[in-house]
Amino acid sequence: HRSPLNDYQRLRATQLLAAHAEPPPPLPERGSAEQCAQHCATSPPCRAFHYDRQSQLCQLLPWTQHSPRVQMQKNIHYDLYQKKDYLRDCIVADGTSYRGTRATTEKGLRCQHWQATTPHDHRFLPSPRNGLEENYCRNPDQDKRGPWCYTVNPKVRHQNCGIKKCEDAVCMTCNGEDYRGAVDHTESGTECQRWDLQHPHKHPFHPNKYPDKGLDDNYCRNPDSSERPWCYTTNPRQEREYCRIRICKKRPRTSNLTTTCFRGKGEGYRGRVNVTVSGIPCQRWDAQTPHQHNFVPEKYPCKDLQENYCRNPDGSEAPWCFTARPTIRIAFCFQIRRCPDELDAQECYHGHGEHYHGHVSKTRKGITCQPWAAQAPHVPQISPVTHPEAHLEENYCRNPDNDSHGPWCYTMDPRTPFDYCGIKPCSGSKVPSILENADVVAFEQCGQRDERLQRKGR
C-alpha cells in the first residue's frame, strides 16, 4: 500500500532547467504520477521527474535543484517531483540513503572527493549505484553514527559529518501546529501516507484545501490541533498515528495576544469572556461534562485553556467554547469585539469627501494606492481622463464618484481592486441623515418566489 511517490518531494507548477544539457525527452507512454515515480525508481540515473497533469506525460531527470548549473522556474504545466534523499539535510536512521550536498565534517574539515585517493587512499570509489559523488558526505559502510567522509587534512583520515536525524533536526513548539520538518514516519516506524493521496486511507485534509497547514508530501503535520504532529499511515489497518518529534527547549515567544478584543481567528485571545454569543455559559475546559472532549488544558499548554473562557485552540473561525447546555456542544463567542484592523485616520473630510484634496495615499488597511493614471494592477474605470475635474493627482485618495462612504482609491494589491482610505469624517461635518427623507420607491424585478405569489399556506 506504499505509494512510489512517498520517496519524492513535490513542488507544484515548477520546472527544472539545466544550463549545461538538454533534458531527456518525455517517456512515450502516458500515465499517472505514481507510474512516473515507478519509472524513476527503476532508472538508476533518475533523481527527479516532471509530471504534466494535463497531458499525463512523464519526463525523467538526472538532476535535482541542488545539482550544479540547474535552476528552478515557475511552469504551471509541470509538477516537479524530486527524490527526498537528495533534498533532505537530515538523515533517516543511519543515513545510508542520504544523498544531500553537505561536504564538510562536524569539525568543519572539507571532505576529500570520493574519486580522489589522496591525501587518503581508500576503496570507496563512486559507482552509478553507491551514491558516492563529488565530496559529499555519505555512509557507504552503514556506520551507526551516520554519513562521514575522508578529509583533505592529511592528519585526519575520516570524520563524521554530524548530520542530524530528521526527528532532531527541526524541533516543535506547543502542539506542533507550526512544525514543517521532514519526519515522515510514525512513532512505531510506520511510513506516512502522502497528504495528496486518498489511499490506503481516504481523508479530508486535501493540501490545496488547507494551504496554511503545510501538508507537503507525507511529512508529519498537525492540521487538526491534535496533541502532536501525526499522519495517516501506509498501513491499511492503522489509519493514523502520532510521530516522535523533539520538543524545542525554548517556549515560543507569544505574540499577538489580546484580552479586550480578538484579532483574526482569535487564537491569541486571552480575555475572560465565558458565555457564548447567544448567552449560554461555557463549560470549563478541565471538565468533561456535559461534553467530553480532547482539549485538556495540560495537553495544550500554549492555548491558555483556563476556567471556562472562550478560546480558539483549533483554528476555528473565532473564539468558542463547549457550552454548559447538553443539547449544544460548541458555540462561537462572536460577541467579543474584533480588534480594529484599520490604520488610525490621518486626516478628515467634509460631506462625502468629494472636495477632499489632501495627500493621504494609503487605504484604511495600509495598502498603497494605485496612481489614478496607471493601468496596473487594475484597469481603472475612473481616471483623470474620464474625470478631469476631480483632481485625480498621483495616487492620492479622492471621491470622484461621490461615494457616500468617503474618499477611496484603486489599490496596489492585485486582489483588492479598490478600498476606502484612512481618512474619517471631520467632527461636526453635517451629512443629511438617511432617516430625514425616506422616499417611496419602486423596485426592479428579482427575488420572486413562485409559491409566494399564490399566497399558499406553508
Binding site: 484592523d341 483588492t416 423596485f443 420572486q448
Partner: protein, 227 residues
C-alpha cells in the same frame, strides 16, 4: 432561528468552513456574489481556500443525492465601509438560478423600510428546540420605527442599523444565522433590507433586534460588483 418554522428562502445560503461545517448565513444578491457579516470572517484579506457556500437545498446537511444542491467555493472576500459590518463574497462560478435558488433584490440607496412592514429572517442556525434545526427555518418580524427603537435602546441606535419589534413569543435569529437576510416583501418583490448580526441574546422578548441597514451600503455593493 428561534420561534420560526421550516420554510423556503431561495436567496439564503449556508457558508461552510473547510471541514464542510455550516457556521454562518448569507444572501445571494447576484449570481456570483453573496452578502454576509464581517463577524463571521477572520480577516478582510483572508485566504478562503476550502470555504464554500451551499444553496438550493432546505437541509443544513443534505445527503449526497440532493438533486438541487449547489456547492460553490468562495474565491474572494471584500469588506464593506468601516462601520458597516458587511462583507461581500465572490463565488468561484455563478450560481444556477432555479425554483430553489433565486436572487434577492437590493433596496434603492438610502431607502427606509416603513415601520410595521412584515419582514422575514431565515437561517440554519440554533433553534433552541423550537423547530427542526436540520432544515432551513424562517420567521416573521415587524419593522420598528427608528425613533421608537432608539428610545428602547437608550439612544445608542446608529443610522446604519435597522430594528424589528420584539415578539412575546420569543422569535429571532441565533447562533449560526448571522450574516443571513432580513427580507421584506415590498411591491411584489422580496428585498434585502437587513443583514443578521450577532446579538447578546437570541430572540429577546423585551428588546428590539438589530440588523445592518443594507440600503445605506447599496452604492458600495454595486461598486464592488462593478469593479
Amino acid at each position: 432561528i428561534v420561534g420560526g418554522q421550516p420554510g423556503n428562502s431561495p436567496w439564503t445560503v449556508s457558508i461552510r468552513n473547510r471541514a464542510g461545517v455550516h457556521f454562518c448565513g448569507g444572501s445571494l444578491v447576484k449570481e456570483q456574489w453573496v452578502i454576509s457579516t464581517r463577524q463571521c470572517f477572520f480577516s478582510c484579506d483572508a485566504d478562503l481556500t476550502g470555504y464554500e457556500v451551499q444553496l438550493g437545498t432546505l437541509f443544513k446537511d443534505p445527503g449526497p443525492g440532493d438533486p438541487d444542491k449547489q456547492t460553490i467555493p468562495i474565491v474572494r472576500i471584500v469588506c464593506g465601509p468601516s462601520e458597516s459590518q458587511l462583507v461581500m463574497l465572490k463565488l468561484a462560478k455563478p450560481a444556477t438560478l432555479n425554483r430553489r435558488v433565486a436572487l434577492i433584490c437590493l433596496p434603492p440607496e438610502r431607502y427606509i423600510v416603513p415601520a410595521g412592514t412584515i419582514c422575514e429572517i431565515a437561517g440554519w442556525g440554533e433553534t433552541r428546540g423550537t423547530a427542526d434545526d436540520t432544515v432551513l427555518n424562517v420567521a416573521q418580524l415587524p419593522v420598528l420605527a427608528h425613533g421608537e427603537c432608539n428610545v428602547a435602546l437608550r439612544g445608542r441606535l446608529k443610522e446604519s442599523e435597522l430594528c424589528t419589534a420584539p415578539l412575546r413569543a420569543g422569535v429571532g435569529a441565533c447562533e449560526g444565522d448571522y450574516g443571513g437576510p432580513l427580507a421584506c416583501l415590498t411591491a411584489d418583490c422580496w428585498v434585502l433590507e437587513g443583514v443578521i448580526t450577532p446579538s447578546r441574546v437570541c430572540a429577546r422578548t423585551d428588546q428590539p433586534a438589530l440588523f445592518i441597514r443594507v440600503s445605506l451600503y447599496v452604492d458600495w455593493i454595486h461598486k464592488v460588483m462593478k469593479m
